[in-house]
């Protein structure tokens, strides 16, 4: 073990106390900013994934063969009972439900509204589509109540309908004829987003079957405990599906939403990279100055036989020492800030109200930062990575010192 070299590197960091302190502070501030950005990125990813999933898409969805290409709501699963059973046995499953969709016209008096009606399992649906829990008036669907419907506030207003009103639902039946059924409004949902409210129309699964004549469910939707496990869960589920039914992720179902999320992520990462680049240049400048000041010393080291590799290692070891101190400062500065935003969140209500809908997803206006065990390794990796990268050129410069020239110049 190169103990003397290690002592040499560590002690060298303290030679110019003011410059070292400024470098450490710079690394610390950079780490804290990067930590804050990363925490908010993770919090936003979590929020987007959660709101996306609970806005109806789920994390995983089993769809009939051919649905991906046509997105035809009339398609039904080959064996939804088997698919549901397979989804329920996945590890890390939080909730599973089944749905069947149909394009319908709702009418009351002279008012007509086209909507996508969703037939659901009233027991499990609120666990996967949480906005139906926001029943402003009335109640949600009950298992024992046939011929009932829950609609969004905007639909009720467009129909000029109210609780207990009977509305007419018309859809294209299995044979191509127009089929109709009377439904009684038992609940009116208000999410705060008119756009979103205009799309909510839920009935029991058997009511959709009755109206369309199409038996069974069109999808099995699953919510996972951890959205990051989506791809792994799909890989497990896919081989268990029968008769050509397919498992899709929320990203496959809402590619526009996922794209928007990726775009946001890329923008945040870009800001992080800019922050780190500034820190990196600062550290590189300080390290280069330190190497230039010690040119004679490096010449002597070379003269006593120190090769280029040990010299590079020495300078990088000094950088690691700086990085360690910078990481400590970064954690000291960043932890309280990240903790605060993980608890209180970053509130965008002033700019976007209580929420807005994007691609059928209601985005919540408060983003909570992520606070977890990842913080320490992240800060250490950023600090060490930045200082090592920043010190590569100074280290190379030191290793290239020509001892004869440097000693001659010094004399």
């Amino acid at each position: 073990m190169a103990w003397v070299s290690t002592k040499y590197a560590v002690r060298s960091v303290g030679r110019n106390a003011r410059r070292t302190a400024l470098s450490i502070l710079g690394i610390g501030i950079g780490c804290a900013l990067a930590l804050f950005t990363e925490s908010m990125n993770r919090g936003r990813d979590e929020l987007f994934a959660r709101t996306g999933a609970y806005s109806g898409a789920g994390h995983l969805r089993v769809v009939p063969a051919g649905w991906s290409a046509s997105r035809d709501p009339r398609l039904r699963l080959a064996d939804w009972h088997a698919d549901l059973a397979a989804a329920r046995t996945l590890p890390g499953i939080a909730a599973v439900t089944v749905r069947a969709r149909a394009q319908v016209l709702l009418a009351m008096g002279t008012h007509v509204v086209p909507v996508e009606m969703v037939g659901v399992d009233p027991e499990n649906e609120p666990r996967t589509f949480r906005f139906v829990q926001k029943v402003q008036r009335g109640h949600y669907l009950l298992s024992g109540e046939q011929g009932t419907v829950v609609v969004g506030k905007a639909i009720a207003e467009r129909l000029s309908a109210d609780l207990d009103d009977e509305i007419l639902a018309s859809a294209v039946g299995k044979t191509g004829d127009i089929e109709s059924a009377m439904l009684r409004i038992v609940g009116i949902v208000s999410t705060g987003s008119e756009e979103f409210d205009a799309g909510i129309c839920q009935v029991r699964l058997d009511d959709v079957e009755r109206l369309t004549g199409l038996a069974g469910a069109g999808e099995v939707t699953a919510i996972l405990d951890d959205w990051r496990a989506t791809d792994a869960a799909r890989a497990l589920l896919a081989p268990r599906l029968t008769s050509g039914d397919q498992a899709l992720t929320w990203g496959d179902i809402s590619p526009e939403f996922k794209g928007h999320m990726e775009q946001d992520k890329a923008a945040s990462r870009f800001i992080s990279v800019i922050i780190l680049l500034i820190v990196l240049l600062g550290v590189a400048s300080a390290q280069l100055a330190a190497v230039l000041e010690r040119r004679r010393e490096f010449a002597v080291l070379s003269a006593v036989g120190m090769g280029a590799v040990p010299m590079v290692r020495l300078v990088l070891l000094e950088a690691l020492t700086l990085g360690f101190a910078g990481a400590t400062v970064g954690l000291a500065l960043g932890l309280p800030i990240v903790w605060r935003f993980a608890r209180a969140g970053l509130d965008f209500r002033r700019f976007m109200g209580s929420g807005y809908a994007f691609q059928g997803v209601i985005i919540e206006p408060i983003i909570y930062g992520d606070f977890g065990v990842w913080i320490v390794p992240y800060v250490v990796a950023v600090a060490f990575g930045a200082t090592i990268i920043a010190s590569l050129y100074p280290a190379w410069f030191a290793a290239r010192t020509d001892p004869a020239v440097a000693l001659r110049v010094a004399q």
Partner: protein, 249 residues
């Protein structure tokens, strides 16, 4: 007959300063045998430091032949030259050049660590310091040592790995008379006990008094090359004053 460890034939070194070529060595022919205690003397700009740098494989000659410890320096890669210095050549500089953040012991130990010496390196470093009477200074850093003490530690660092050749560039230039004497006795003693070859450049007549062989460089050439046999230093250094305190002074 001792083995020849340095051979130079028509050795030249020319530096390019801006657009001008400045010759530092203009054809040096010299042979140095193992165990010699050789002083390089001459006025400033005569090529002493350049010669030491070439022999120490810090630099490569412009032309001519230079063989050090059986290796032709011009043919060695940078890495091979570093390895030659690490394994076989010790350096002592005018300005001591100890690593300021390491103690005396660690400065000596550092060279052994570079050589890849394992767990016994601390013991060996301490042994060298004790041998040179520096044991009490082991835990001190260079800024806690006098100039003479620093230079003695520098010698300890140079000889810690028992190199066959030790090169010293004006080792006593920053020392007072007493410290210069002590240093020269120490180097001479090392040469006598371990058979190391010492080549040092100097202006200092007190140092020359200790040399067994004195090579005078003038204008990049060997002007005189004499084995001392009891002569006073002033007799072998034409144009240089007598050594204070020496016979006849």
């Amino acid at each position: 007959m001792n083995e020849t460890i340095i051979t130079t034939r028509a050795l030249t070194k020319t530096f390019q300063l801006n657009k001008h070529k400045v010759p530092a060595l203009r054809g040096v022919d010299l042979e140095v045998s193992e165990g010699e205690f050789l002083a390089l003397v001459g006025p400033s700009g005569s090529g002493k430091t350049t010669f030491l740098n070439l022999v120490g494989a810090l630099d490569v000659p412009t032309s001519g032949e230079l063989t050090v410890l059986g290796r032709r320096v011009a043919e060695l890669s940078k890495r091979a030259r570093a390895d030659l210095r690490l394994r076989s050549i010790g350096f002592v500089f005018q300005a001591y050049n100890l690593v300021p953040v390491l103690t005396a012991l660690e400065n000596v130990e550092f060279v052994l660590e570079l050589q890849g010496v394992g767990s016994e390196r601390r013991g060996r470093a301490r042994q060298v310091l004790d041998e040179l009477g520096l044991g009490d200074l082991a835990r001190r850093r260079p800024n806690e040592l006098s100039g003479g003490q620093q230079q003695r530690v520098a010698v300890a660092r140079a000889v810690a790995a028992r190199p066959r050749l030790v090169l010293a560039d004006e080792p006593t230039a920053n020392l007072d008379g007493e410290n210069a004497e002590t240093l020269m006795h120490m180097m001479r003693d090392l040469r006598d006990r371990h058979g190391m070859t010492f080549v040092f450049s100097t202006h200092d007549l007190r140092v020359v008094a200790h040399a067994v062989r004195v090579v005078t460089l003038t204008d990049g050439r060997v002007a005189r090359d004499e084995e001392k046999s009891g002569e006073a230093p002033h007799e072998i250094l034409p144009g240089v004053g007598k050594v204070p305190g020496s016979a006849g002074a």
